[in-house]
Amino acid sequence: MTALDLPVRTHPDERRQVASGNQEQRRRRRREYRLFALLVAPNLLVIAVFAYWPILYNAFLSLTDWNMIAARPTFVGLTNYANILTDPAFHKTLWITLVFTGLIVAGSLVIGLALALLFNQPLKGRGVVRTISFAPHILSGAAVATIWLFIFDPGYGLLRALIEPFGAEPPDWMNNSDWALPGLVIVYLWKNVGFTALIYLAGLQGLPKELDEAAAIDGAGTWTRFRRIKLPLLAPITFFLLITTVIGTFQAFDVIAVMTGGGPGDATTTLSWSIYNEGFQAFNAGRAATLSIIMFVILLIVTAVQARVMERRVHYK
């Protein structure tokens, strides 16, 4: 069997039906249709109700004012959009989301790639360390956040014990509006760079060795070979990680909920937190739905860009 066979794979029944048209075959085909519908229906139903319908529902709710207690929403047209898009508090939320996302994307790409390069060296124990660094990725965000809350504790936290010997005063991380966001970024990086490193490592191990060796023979140094050969060849992986990290970070919630609750003040109020806050603490369905639509559109653009770039990559390959 070759790879070319794959897309045209059909059920053997179909292949035997060269001379079509008799009743037996039509009955068989109908049975197959019915089985298909039966197997696919539960999944499609759940997807339709809980993934696609919410988009339409959000679009509708975003045109209304509703506290979720009144019998029905009041139609207000585009008022929510007008209010939110001109609200300085929303601009700040968007800015915080972008800073938060930017720091995490940059941090996890740079640190993840550095770790992958380290794990790619022939060192004893590198496999164990790679596994250790990946472990936080599969741990509950709420639990990880709670551990770091203790580590950041200004009185008895581990970080105080590491900072004090250098004569510096530890900040009251999560209660200080200058330090809360960087604190969250540290926790997210700790939780996720092991994942980035793992993907980069798989990429590094898939690179053709010949180019690198030829460049080394030509006298190119380690840094030049990294910058001119490895980095460009890893570009598709970097791009994939960039997109997935942006999408994931935009929806970051559990760590924020446990560590800061969007505060102090609004210092860590990201778009994801404000959707929760408007919907489930202020009970303002219209505003929560509008913010949801805004997030959906932003991430849809990000995904569309990804699709375009991936398509081009395939064509030029």
């Binding site: 794979r9 059920h11 029944d13 197959e32 249709y33 089985l35 298909f36 197997l39 696919v40 539960p42 999944n43 809980f50 993934a51 696609y52 319908w53 919410p54 988009i55 529902y57 959000n58 709710l61 770790l115 380290l118 060192l123 124990g125 360390v129 596994t131 250790i132 660094s133 472990a135 936080p136 599969i138 741990l139 509950s140 965000g141 709420a142 709670t146 551990i147 203790f150 580590i151 504790d153 008895y156 581990l158 793992l198 993907i199 798989a202 380690t222 992986i237 929806q251 919630f253 909920a257 446990v258 959707i275 929760y276 489930f280 369905a285 739905a289 949801s292 997030m295 959906f296 995904t303």
Partner: protein, 274 residues
């Protein structure tokens, strides 16, 4: 690579990296086992002087952790079973059965991956409310059992299976469900384990949905219960809070130790081929 001086340095960095990722977990476990006197002293006690289980019983007293544990287990087991069943059945149908407009339907399934989960929170809450499912297991589980990514992984895998085997089964008169159960699934075991483990980890760690859809302590799950414990203890009793945190993490740490190669394999595959 040939320079000898860099190798020892690389080992130093490697050990440093291991320390950065292990230290918080060590600190969690040792604090959970420490007496309060060891926790609230400065400089800190680097290891527990007298091991104690007291923190666990305090956590148990402060919040119904047995109930949280039960709820998390039910949701993880039932949710994973339903979601993986959906993935396998849908993948089989798309890989082996004929249907009009199959391609369009498959695009619809995959398109669900483009909908960010956070955007669906409010509408799904309202849908679940209108079904009368707030604060029920159905409300906790059902919205999450639709499967797009796992369906994609399973279907891709089914398409790599040699067609002779499934053809032979069909010629032998085995029906489709029999072929799936007896032939296709056993041949897909590693991929199936990967999908089960990744799904179970997601279900167990899920936070925002159980937070929203439950409203009494007896329906909370472990991650949400942890938030309640933290708020109740008011950050004044780290031993108790760390004991509760360890209860949330321990099962996933165990699964990770046992099945990490499946998790790692599945995640790299999803990333590089997806």
């Amino acid at each position: 690579m040939s320079r000898l001086g860099t190798r020892p340095l690389q080992y130093v960095v490697l050990v440093g990296v291991a320390a950065i990722f292990l230290a918080p977990l060590y600190w969690l476990i040792s604090t959970a086992l420490k007496q309060p006197a060891d926790i609230y002293q400065w400089p800190p006690a680097w290891w527990p002087h007298d091991l104690t289980w007291e923190n666990f019983s305090l956590a148990w007293k402060a919040a119904p952790f047995d109930r949280f544990f039960l709820n998390s287990t039910i949701i993880t087991v039932v949710g994973t079973a339903a979601k993986v069943a959906n993935a396998v059945l849908t993948a089989y149908a798309f890989a082996y059965l004929r249907f009009p407009f199959k391609k369009v339907l498959f695009t619809l399934v995959l398109g669900a991956m483009m909908v960010p989960g956070h955007v669906t929170l409010l509408p799904n809450y309202l849908t679940v409310a209108s079904l009368g499912w707030i604060n029920t297991y159905a409300g906790l589980i059902v919205p999450g059992i639709g499967s797009a990514f796992a369906t994609f992984l399973m279907r891709q895998h089914f398409l790599t299976l040699p067609s002779e085997v499934t053809d032979a089964a069909a010629v032998d008169g085995a029906g489709h469900l029999r072929t799936l159960w007896r032939v296709v699934l056993p041949m897909s075991q590693p991929m199936l384990i990967t999908v089960v483990v990744i799904t179970a980890v997601e279900e167990w760690n899920n936070f925002v949905w159980p937070l929203i859809v439950t409203n009494t302590a007896d329906m909370r799950t472990l991650p949400v219960g942890l938030l309640i414990l933290k708020d109740e203890e008011g950050l004044a009793n780290w031993g108790t809070i760390m004991a509760g945190t360890l209860l949330v993490l321990a099962p996933m740490l165990l699964i990770f130790l046992v099945a990490q190669r499946y998790i790692v394999g599945g995640i790299t595959q999803g990333a590089l081929k997806g």
